[in-house]
């Protein structure tokens, strides 16, 4: 029962209520007048939707393409799937039986088109419409089977059109003019003249292998073992196609109707069954499933593949028994999550916190970063490289031979063609901190107004005296953002305290920009 237009009306009834004479849409007061003792509950549309999603999840055991037909229906695309269950009739029977076991009463319609299947399920007598006989089977059904809105149906019945056969006999032009295009579109969709795809809840996998069990299995080790075996079979098929796995999903169906999913992503195309099994084991260790009744079907589907060139086995190379860096990244990503395994990428930006950003390691392979940042390589950075492949073993630029570094005159000669100039510092200390706070910590600092370096500062309730300082390094934040909230210019100072610790402080804002600039500790220098 729910509120429809400010009156409490009945939304859904059970069999006994229908026998007592109530109808959907009847007001609550009228219903009470017919039968005084009335058991009713308020409607809960979110709970109903959640229940429908849960049932749709479980029904993925039949086909991966399951769509929702709110409020109480499901659409399946069983093209090419029916033979796995012994035919369409057997599939329908199996579905009805299992859902009856969960306590649902179902009506099933199987046809060539979505519209015809809907019509058979809601208003038809048989379940299955034979191929090509759609017109004959749909003809005697009422117009409500075509998913038409109420006003259209009322208008059509005033004209004397009650069944689909009547509608098919009429000329299309005047009806379209009178009722709109959707009427004919629904008819065309039902008869197959117009395409109507199902929008599935999950994407269709590229490859899928599943195994069902006569007796449900309970133990975690068994689940992992079966997943490992199914993965091996998938790897064999992929090897014939010359592809590797990028994303793979294991769906485990419980006997009580629940579905559990394990998703694994890899940083490169992978075809090694042992490695994938380890990734699944790592991921499995992080989930906790409690299924007292066991699992009766396990399916492993490949969601994304990538072509991979076959590697020649090298007989001269030794045993490959250590895991490599890419496999380590995959395992850590599977266990800890994608946002916790990161690689660093430089950007040509002045703001220090954005000059070097961390991106998930699994996506880092597609990144190639041109080195144009002024902190790296000096003046001839562009000559040194155009785009660099993101690798581990390239190493850094060569340290300049000591003669060039110490020869002061050579620093000022023009670079020869193809030569990479050594980095020129204006300080002996490190220019950038080795640690950087994500949010700079505010400190109280005493400094000479307006531009002086800090003399004393208080951080985390301890006072530190500054022995030596270098700076300021003025970094202006992008002024073109946000006219009102202009970010303030920062003056960075490299500070050494009495104890010898080196810190990277900045004053947020110049005295001409703001009245009371604040001081922050941004990082620690080595």
């Amino acid at each position: 029962m729910g509120a429809v237009k400010n009156a409490r009306r009945l939304i859904a009834l059970n069999d006994a209520a229908e026998r007592a004479g109530w109808r959907v849409g009847m007001s609550f007061a009228d219903a009470c007048a017919i039968v005084p003792d009335l058991m009713s509950a308020d409607e809960a549309p979110q709970e109903d939707a959640r229940l429908l999603s849960a049932v749709a999840d479980w029904c993925e055991r039949y086909t991966p393409l399951v769509g929702l037909d709110a409020p109480d229906g499901l659409l399946f695309d069983i093209t090419g799937v029916a033979h796995l269950f012994g035919g369409e009739a057997a599939l329908a029977q199996d579905l009805t039986q299992r859902l009856a076991g969960f306590g649902f009463r179902t009506r099933i319609g199987i046809a060539d088109t979505v519209g015809a299947a809907f019509a058979m399920a809601h208003h038809g007598k048989e379940r299955i419409v034979p191929c090509g006989k759609t017109r004959e089977v749909l003809a005697p059904l009422p117009l409500a089977a075509l998913r038409l809105p109420l006003e259209t149906r009322q208008g059509l019945s005033r004209l004397g059109l009650k069944t689909i056969a009547d509608l098919m006999a009429c000329p299309r032009g005047p009806l379209t003019a009178r009722f709109g295009a959707h009427l004919m579109r629904r008819l065309d969709q039902a008869l197959g003249a117009e395409e109507e795809p199902i929008s599935p809840r999950q994407p269709a996998p590229a490859l899928s292998v599943e195994q069902g069990f006569a007796e449900p299995i309970f133990r975690d080790e068994d689940v992992l073992l079966i997943i490992g075996r199914l993965t091996e079979r998938l790897c064999e098929s992929l090897e014939k196609r010359g592809e590797g796995i990028r994303r793979i999903r294991a769906s485990v169906f419980g006997v009580d109707g629940r579905l559990f999913r394990l998703d694994i992503g890899t940083s490169g195309p992978l075809r090694d069954g042992v490695r994938l099994h380890r990734l699944f084991a790592d991921k499995f260790a992080t989930v906790s499933w409690d299924c007292e009744f066991g699992f009766d079907c396990i399916r492993v589907s490949v969601l994304e593949t990538q072509s991979v060139s076959p590697a020649q086995k090298n007989f001269a190379a030794g045993e490959d028994d250590g895991q490599t860096v890419s496999h380590l990244i995959d395992r850590l990503t599977a266990r800890l999550g994608e946002t916790r395994v990161l690689r660093l990428v430089e950007q040509d930006v002045h703001v220090p916190e954005h000059a070097c950003v961390a991106i998930p390691a699994a996506d880092a392979e597609e990144f190639s970063v041109p080195i144009t940042s002024p902190l790296r390589g000096g003046r001839n950075a562009e000559a040194a490289s155009a785009a660099r492949h993101f690798g581990w073993g390239d190493g850094c630029g060569e340290a300049p031979p000591p003669e060039i570094a110490r020869d002061a005159r050579s620093q000022f000669r023009p670079p020869r063609k193809g030569e990479v100039m050594p980095r020129t510092h204006d300080t002996l200390a490190a220019m950038r901190p080795v640690r950087l706070f994500e949010r700079a910590e505010p400190i109280e600092a005493i400094a000479e107004v307006p531009d002086g370096p800090p003399v004393r500062f208080k951080w985390r309730r301890a006072v530190h005296h500054v022995a030596r300082v270098e700076g300021p390094e003025r970094i202006a934040l992008p002024w073109w953002r946000d006219g009102k909230n202009r970010p303030l210019t920062r003056d960075y100072f490299r500070v050494e305290t009495d104890a010898g610790a080196r810190l990277w402080l900045y004053r947020d804002g110049l005295f001409r920009e703001t009245l009371g600039p604040r001081w922050f500790l941004h990082g620690f220098l080595p």
């Binding site: 250590g322 895991q323 490599t324 860096v325 380590l328 850590l332 800890l336 946002t339 916790r340 395994v341 990161l342 690689r343 660093l344 430089e346 220090p352 000059a355 070097c356 961390a358 390691a361 902190l375 790296r376 660099r388 690798g391 581990w392 073993g393 390239d394 190493g395 850094c396 340290a399 000591p402 050594p422 980095r423 300080t427 002996l428 200390a429 490190a430 220019m431 950038r432 901190p433 080795v434 640690r435 950087l436 706070f437 994500e438 951080w459 530190h464 030596r468 300082v469 050494e496 305290t497 009495d498 104890a499 010898g500 610790a501 080196r502 810190l503 990082g523 620690f524 220098l525 080595p526």
Partner: protein, 242 residues
């Protein structure tokens, strides 16, 4: 005599080699052993940068130009002591690309990740930072890390934020601070310098040193030792009598 013989014969490391630090090499009997676990602690909250700087210096000396450096940090440690900044490896010759950063929610995750990374080929240095005292890295856990470092032939550095007094299986334990007083001729900051205190050493006695790092040559410069007591030396019995 017998005691010193036992110290010298103590089996350590997988034979991976040493990092030569200069002055402390005498106490370390050759240098910092490469395929072993070493612990680093800052001398105070302002010295977090010095600790990581020393760790990166060791990483730069460990294998030179190849291999990945894994930095594992517990979330709370990142809040207290700030996360690694990729451009800060420049004085040590380390590109941001060589780092693999891992953020662990708990100390247990961090230790697991450290162990897995140590066993991986292609990874030369693993630096792990635990929050607070790092209570989870007790004798058993550090023994596992030490074995993993020997097996994978990698250098393992465990950073704690406060000193840890319980026994652990680390080969050496250091307390690091920034060394004051290094200046250039204009009165500005001098080169990077570390004040090292060796608080636990399986191979010999402890001591204090100040080491300076050369940004251009990417190595430690020889520096003066600040050892207060005479280092322990094996003296034959008749030399004492005579």
């Amino acid at each position: 005599m017998i005691i010193s013989k036992q110290v010298n014969d103590h089996p350590l490391g997988g034979g991976g080699g040493f990092i030569s630090l200069g002055a402390p090499d005498g106490m370390l009997k050759g240098g910092l052993v490469l395929s072993e676990l070493h612990e680093l602690t800052p001398a105070g909250p302002t010295h977090y940068g010095a600790v990581l700087g020393f760790a990166l210096a060791l990483a730069a000396l460990a294998r030179g130009k190849q291999g990945a450096i894994v930095f594992i940090q517990q979330d709370f440690a990142a809040l207290e002591a700030a996360a690694l900044y990729g451009l800060g490896g420049a004085p040590f010759g380390l590109d941001p690309e060589r780092f693999l950063l891992i953020r662990a929610a708990t100390a247990k995750d961090a230790l697991w990740a450290m162990e897995e990374a140590l066993k991986t080929r292609g990874i030369t240095v693993v630096i792990g930072e635990l929050a607070e005292r790092g209570d989870a890295a007790d004798l058993t856990a550090t023994r596992r890390l030490s074995l993993a470092a020997q097996k994978g032939n990698s250098l393992a550095l465990l950073l704690r934020q406060y000193p840890w007094c319980e026994p652990s299986a680390a080969a050496t334990r250091w307390q690091i601070a920034g060394a004051p007083g290094a200046t250039d001729e204009f009165g500005g900051l001098g080169g990077t310098a570390f004040s090292l205190t060796l608080t636990k050493n399986r191979r010999g006695p402890c001591g204090t040193w100040v080491l300076q790092w050369d940004h251009d040559a990417k190595r430690f410069l020889p520096a003066l030792s600040r050892a207060v007591a005479q280092p322990f030396v094996d003296r034959p019995a008749d030399a004492a009598a005579g």
